[in-house]
């Protein structure tokens, strides 16, 4: 039983920045539910990084991941092509999304988080909910998964920071507007950068709308062994990898999460610079 984890399809969604990989991993595809993530490692000397499962295809035994090239490990991942194997791929991890039925669910996605949000939105759609997607990016070219979401979301609302497409402004503007006129909303889900998830939670709070956020804390093992991913939720310490990654947005300490995400900033830069230097030396 050897896991190949072959990349069957690679698509550069935003060249040099964001890519989508469809990976042959029937054992994970068979078990993965919306909200789950994987931990992967690209090289023998590589680190373990978590990535949300953006989609699954049980028939073909594949899972889809989408990543933003942000540092060394995602740069290494970006160097892989169709036909290459991912060295280590482990999952599905985390608790699946709690899919209750009976109304409208607004799924808000920002940046690469739109891909992760996509799987959750699809789950809510399949559970029988009316799903409204609100997606945002800095500019039109950085918007992901619009068409994929349109396949099952009757409404896909778009905002861009620079106004190049859709609403000129933030996703929270659209969300607020919607909550004011629609009382069938049973839940809001937000996946994206921490400030965006914090802003969404703040927006929904006065409406009392249950709000779920998918937290992207630093992880090592992803199976509850270490507590690197711990977050404070309602005053209690929780491990995002086993207790989450989805939590009640109204109870999450986003400030602490933001600080903890920056804990290795210097080392991340050092690692990336080291990688670039080595690559340059190789080319010489």
């Amino acid at each position: 039983m050897i896991m190949a984890n072959k990349i069957v399809k690679k698509e550069q969604l935003i060249p040099g920045q964001t890519s989508k990989l469809v990976i042959d991993a029937p054992h994970i595809a068979a078990k993965a539910k919306p909200g789950n993530f994987v931990i992967l490692r690209v090289t023998e000397k590589g680190e373990r990084i978590p990535l949300t499962i953006a989609d699954t295809d049980t028939e073909n035994g594949t899972i889809t991941i989408v990543y933003l090239v942000l540092g060394k490990s995602t740069a290494l991942l970006e160097e892989l092509n169709e036909g290459d194997d991912i060295l280590d791929l482990c999952g599905p991890l985390g608790k699946p999304t709690d899919l209750h039925t009976g109304g409208t669910v607004i799924c808000v996605g920002g940046g690469t988080g739109i891909a992760a949000m996509h799987h959750i939105a699809k789950g809510h759609h399949e559970a029988g909910n009316h799903v409204v997607a609100i997606i945002g990016a800095r500019t039109k070219d950085l918007l992901l998964f619009e068409n994929e979401l349109k396949e099952f979301c009757p409404e896909v609302l778009i905002s861009t920071d620079d106004g190049s497409y859709g609403h000129h402004g933030l996703v929270t503007d659209l969300l607020k507007e919607r909550l004011e006129k629609d009382d069938s909303v049973i839940e809001v889900v937000a996946v994206g950068p921490v400030p965006m998830m914090a802003a969404v939670s703040k927006t929904t709070e006065p409406f009392g709308t249950p709000t779920t956020v998918s937290l992207n804390s630093i992880m090592v093992d992803g199976v509850g062994m270490c507590g690197a991913c711990r977050v404070t939720v309602g005053g209690e310490t929780k491990f995002a990898c086993v207790d989450g990654p989805e939590f009640n947005g109204h109870k999450v300490d986003f400030g602490e999460l933001r600080q903890r995400l920056a804990a290795f900033k210097c080392q991340e830069k050092e690692s990336f610079d080291h990688h670039c230097r080595c690559k340059c030396n190789d080319n010489k």
Partner: protein, 477 residues
């Protein structure tokens, strides 16, 4: 004439084992203890009285025929000695290094009453290291050729730590087809993520012991998480006739004090996993980063605390304090480990209990507030309880804190296997005779049954389960 008789009976001291000097070793991750030469081993082995009813064997959780193998070492027949050890112990190079022999085999040695016990651990280690390079089938089964593997006798081990590796070694050498499923990307459990390189080399020792099992046709599947990637039911459907659950305790305990989530506060599991499994000591050649503390504090008094403190020292910390609420002699760590730590310049900050971590505006740890303690009267258990000295607190500067106060049962498998009966502490309940769980043909052992214990106790549990599985398969000795 009585005096001369007494002199004759006096027991020779044990042969010391060479170590890397403290000031040198505290700057590298190479193994501290260097091991015996053959001459040293033979000399030490000759101290053994070769008791008719050896007590040392009873002290060993996997019942290595100690006197027999030592007799062979004394003669210089290391190959024979190895075969004898391997007949009951699948990881002798590991056990010789990390077992707390003073409370097991060596603690039971008859010589310990009058002087120093035979250095059984060092001898086991010497023998294992000498024969590490020999053909594995020869060694593990102690038989001239590899056993015939009966594909029908399918056994699955969940987790690849010491207990599972023992089950795998025992059953594979008796012709069973064993597959070991591991959640992480490397095999060995605590042997690879927990115990540091300077106590247990990964490439030269752990990987070779695992390699010997692979030669016995044990299959290892990594990145497979019990309860997530597969269930016990899935394994049964795949034809596994016996399943051993050895997933460890894993989940770390924290102190539950304010400021515990500041950057720079780590669980020992995270700190050691980054350094050992992720090889963060060689960052940026390896990608996993670690924060190299300048002023490090470690909380707890067990072996894990020693490992974390000595690791921090090797990563270049200016000062490393081990904060413990009782006195040093009450520390549960092995004496040898505490001694090694102190030799390396680690400070024991005893009778001190952390009550708060403080940080700067960016959320980085800057100091800890410690409560001074005193030892009270013995309680019902006979152990003296530490009591706070009211109002006596002090600050200790620290930019890296490592919490090593134990673990809890890992819920990942247990939550998804509701049929597995648990005890009141949340660990798996087993039949003490057989290590079978509430699910027929599913066995468990190691930390997931007992809570955090030692490598060798986990191996003992694995051996008990394996003996029962062998009996049911009709392949026992």
């Amino acid at each position: 004439m009585t005096t001369s008789k007494k002199t004759k009976k006096q027991i020779a001291p044990r042969v010391p084992m060479p170590n890397q000097p403290a000031d040198e070793r505290s700057r590298n991750f190479k193994e501290v203890a260097l091991g015996y030469t053959k001459e040293m081993a033979m000399e030490e082995a000759s101290r053994c009285l070769n008791c008719k009813k050896p007590k040392c064997v009873q002290g060993c959780p996997v019942q290595v025929p100690i006197a027999d193998f030592i007799a062979e070492v004394a003669k210089g027949d290391i190959e024979k000695a190895y075969a004898i050890i391997k007949s009951t112990n699948s990881l002798p190079a590991v056990c010789g290094r990390v077992c707390p022999q003073e409370i097991q085999c060596e603690g039971s040695c008859i010589l310990s009453a009058k002087g120093e016990p035979v250095a059984i651990g060092r001898l086991e280690r010497f023998v294992a290291d000498e024969y590490m390079y020999m053909d594995a089938c020869d060694l593990i089964s102690a038989k001239p050729e590899c056993p015939y593997i009966d594909e029908e006798k399918k056994v699955a081990c969940i987790g690849s730590g010491p207990s599972s590796l023992t089950v795998a070694g025992y059953l594979a050498s008796r012709g069973c087809k064993v597959t070991v499923f591991e959640a992480l990307h490397e095999v060995g459990g605590v042997l690879v993520y927990g115990i540091p390189e300077f106590r247990l080399p990964k490439k030269d020792i752990v990987a070779k012991e695992v390699g010997a099992l692979k030669d016995l046709q044990v299959d290892f599947v990594t990145n497979y998480v019990g309860g997530k990637t597969f269930s016990i039911e899935d394994l049964k459907a795949q034809g596994y006739k016996a399943i051993f659950v050895g997933v460890g305790a894993g989940l770390p305990r924290f102190l539950n004090i304010p400021g515990e989530n500041f950057c720079g506060v780590f669980s020992a599991n995270e700190y050691l996993t980054r350094v050992n499994l992720g090889r963060a000591y060689d960052f940026p050649n390896y990608d996993t980063p670690i924060i190299k503390g300048r002023k490090v504090t470690v909380y707890g008094g067990g072996n894990v605390a020693m490992d974390a403190a000595r690791t921090a020292k090797r990563l270049g910390a200016e000062s490393v304090h081990i904060v413990y609420r009782r006195t040093a002699d009450a520390m549960p760590a092995r004496h040898e480990e505490i001694e090694h730590a102190v030799e390396e310049g680690i400070i024991l900050e005893v009778l001190a209990n952390p009550i708060e971590f403080k940080g700067d505006e960016n959320g980085n740890l800057t100091s800890v507030t410690l409560q001074k303690m005193t030892m009270g009267e013995p309680d019902e258990s006979g152990r003296r309880r530490p009591l706070p000295l009211e109002g006596e607190t002090y600050e200790l500067e620290t930019d890296l804190a490592v919490i090593a106060v134990g673990t809890r049962p890992n819920p990942v498998l247990l939550e998804n296997e509701p049929d597995l009966k648990l005890n009141k502490w949340g660990y798996i309940e087993v039949n003490e005779e057989t290590n079978e769980t509430s699910i027929p043909d599913v066995y468990a052992g190691g930390d997931i049954v007992t809570g955090a214990a030692t490598v060798i106790l986990a191996m003992g549990a694995g051996r008990k389960a394996a003996q029962e599985i062998a009996r049911r398969f009709g392949v026992e000795d």
